[in-house]
């Protein structure tokens, strides 16, 4: 019986390694993008593009977004901007009147008189008009606050020269000015989650998500997916990405095509945004339940992609499994607990070192701005635990002595806290959110964020999303408020 439990614990600990190993594997194949990318089939292609900007009370940001779009380096007259005003109650209509006068024939204001149904409904209002007009050969779906670099559209459109490509997405960078610790964490996260991960997915030939802030679709693709965005989930961008690929088109990430966005500057706002994203991913997991782990069919059903997807969508389950496995071993076969702990955290350290250094190299300007946040991304406590594992410190020195089955001592408490930190950090990160929500001073929030880590915060949000889905909580479209402080950074 004990042996069976020991094996179960080892399996749980191994299961807990899946997110670390899948992320490491994903980073390993990024370099191959230098050889296998879509540039060989690109050509100078400049289709007529309609930009769709869903806007609800975006008066503070919509003007600068339109100005940025109107200064694109693209053939004159080959792009138009359609702002779909979701019944804004601020002075968005006045800003739009001003911009339409400033850019006649290029900027259009489509207003919904009854709004509040969410981004997908708003986008669909615009898409219906654009597709009916027949002018646009491609459609750029974006967010109202996003700023395009002058050559971004040109870089994205070139991929549509290949008729097998249905959608192209760009690298969304965090550009809040002035930024703070949290926005710099997000900026670093976007190197890993976009510039790195999506290059790897290009190599795999399957993309998990075209960023909602910059999705360029061919007209043919939009028609193929029904001419509208799905409204049943909270992750309409990911849903569209899946539908595009299932409709037989390829989707491509261009890491050199850059747009800038303003991301949340408080943990509370970030929690709200990411809870929506994480719930959306879980809804998608259920909606496409017939797709997963069906090799031989579509690439979305491949084993490698399935592992990548579930490693993110169910991250807390893996963290809990890891901790449960090591703690179980601690009680059943203590020396093995130390061995498994050392292997797990040493491997985590190697992955951390490689991914962090490579992330800095992938986007050096952002890396130099966020080097501190990159280094403390897992949290100081996790870093300390990694060093304990790597250095082989018998912190709990005389390891063989203290680990004695059936003999409990106070010393067991810190040891178990360390062994179970993967799961505990998820709860601790929730505490950081509660602290921020309670209005704690920013320095205190930042202190705990650095101590516990941004990674565990993401894990905690995913756990909250799983709980919300499990109890079938209301699906509210909680819009992230933008203040217009985003700038294109050079």
């Amino acid at each position: 019986m004990t042996d069976a439990l020991v094996i179960l614990c080892i399996l749980l600990a191994a299961l807990g390694m899946i997110p670390t190993l899948s992320s490491f594997a994903q980073f390993l194949i990024i370099g191959w993008h230098g050889v296998r990318n879509n540039y060989s089939v690109c050509r100078d292609y400049t289709p007529r593009v309609a930009f769709v900007l869903p806007a609800w009370n975006e008066a503070d940001v919509i003007g600068s977004s339109i100005d940025s779009l109107m200064s694109l380096s693209y053939p004159p007259g080959a792009w138009r901007i359609y702002v779909v005003d979701d019944a804004s109650t601020d002075h968005t209509p006045a800003v739009m009147r001003e911009k339409m006068a400033q850019y006649p024939g290029s900027v259009f204001h489509l207003r919904r008189e009854v709004g509040g149904q969410g981004k997908a409904h708003t986008l669909n209002h615009g898409l219906k008009t654009i597709l009916a007009e027949g002018w646009a050969e491609a459609v750029m779906i974006m967010d109202a606050d996003v700023l395009f670099e002058p050559l971004t559209l040109r870089r994205m459109a070139r991929h549509l020269a290949d008729p097998t490509v249905g959608g192209v997405t760009a690298y969304v960078k965090e550009g809040s000015q002035p930024g703070n610790l949290l926005t710099r964490f997000i900026a670093f996260e976007y190197i890993t989650a976009q510039a790195a991960a999506r290059r790897a997915q290009n190599v795999m030939g399957v993309l998990a998500c075209m960023a909602g802030g910059a999705q360029l679709h061919s007209r043919e693709n939009l028609i193929a997916i029904g001419g509208a965005i799905d409204t049943s989930t909270l992750a309409e961008d990911t849903y569209t990405t899946f539908k595009t690929q299932l409709a037989g088109h390829r989707v491509v990430f261009d890491g050199n095509a850059v747009v800038w966005a303003e991301e949340p500057d408080s943990v509370t706002a970030l929690w709200k945004q990411r809870l929506r994203w994480a719930r959306g991913n879980l809804q998608l997991t259920a909606a496409f339940h017939n797709l997963w782990f069906r090799p031989g069919g579509h690439r979305l059903g491949g084993v490698a992609f399935g592992i990548l997807w579930f490693a993110v969508a169910l991250m807390p389950a893996f963290m809990i499994a890891s901790s449960a496995g090591v703690i179980g071993l601690y009680y059943l076969r203590p020396p093995w607990a130390w061995a498994v702990f050392t292997i797990v955290w040493s491997a985590t350290f190697v992955a951390y070192l490689f991914e962090t250094l490579f992330s800095f190299a992938i986007d050096p300007p952002t890396g130099s701005r966020t080097w501190f946040e990159g280094l403390v991304f897992p949290g100081l406590i996790s870093l300390g635990i990694m060093l304990i594992a790597v250095s082989g410190l018998t912190l709990f020195s005389g390891a063989a002595d203290w680990m004695e089955v059936g003999h409990w001592s106070w010393r067991d408490i810190p040891i178990q806290l360390i062994l179970a930190w993967n799961a505990i950090s998820t709860i601790a990160a929730w505490g950081v959110y509660r602290l921020d929500r309670a209005g704690a001073p920013k320095w205190l929030r930042n202190f705990f964020l650095v101590l516990i880590g941004y990674g565990p915060l993401m894990c905690s949000i995913t756990f909250a999303a799983m709980a919300a889905q499990f109890r079938n909580a209301d699906m509210r479209w909680d819009k992230t408020m933008k203040s217009g402080k985003v700038k294109i950074l050079r």
Partner: protein, 60 residues
């Protein structure tokens, strides 16, 4: 809206030929970036392999 005939799918030589060099420059720049990432990865992996080797030797 009146601009329909002025732009197209980039196949009109009159529209694109003047910018062809610019485009090629842009493409070359991006291809070079991807190539740089490959070499960066190889360099970082080599560095980490060395670190691990040193660690294993020293911890014997």
């Amino acid at each position: 809206m009146g601009q329909d005939d002025e732009v197209g799918k980039g196949e009109d030589p009159a529209m694109t030929s003047g910018e062809k060099d610019d485009y090629q420059k842009l493409l070359d720049e991006d291809v070079a970036t991807e190539s740089r990432l490959l070499w960066s990865e190889i360099g970082i992996l080599a560095f980490i392999t060395l670190l691990i080797a040193a660690y294993l030797i020293l911890s014997r």
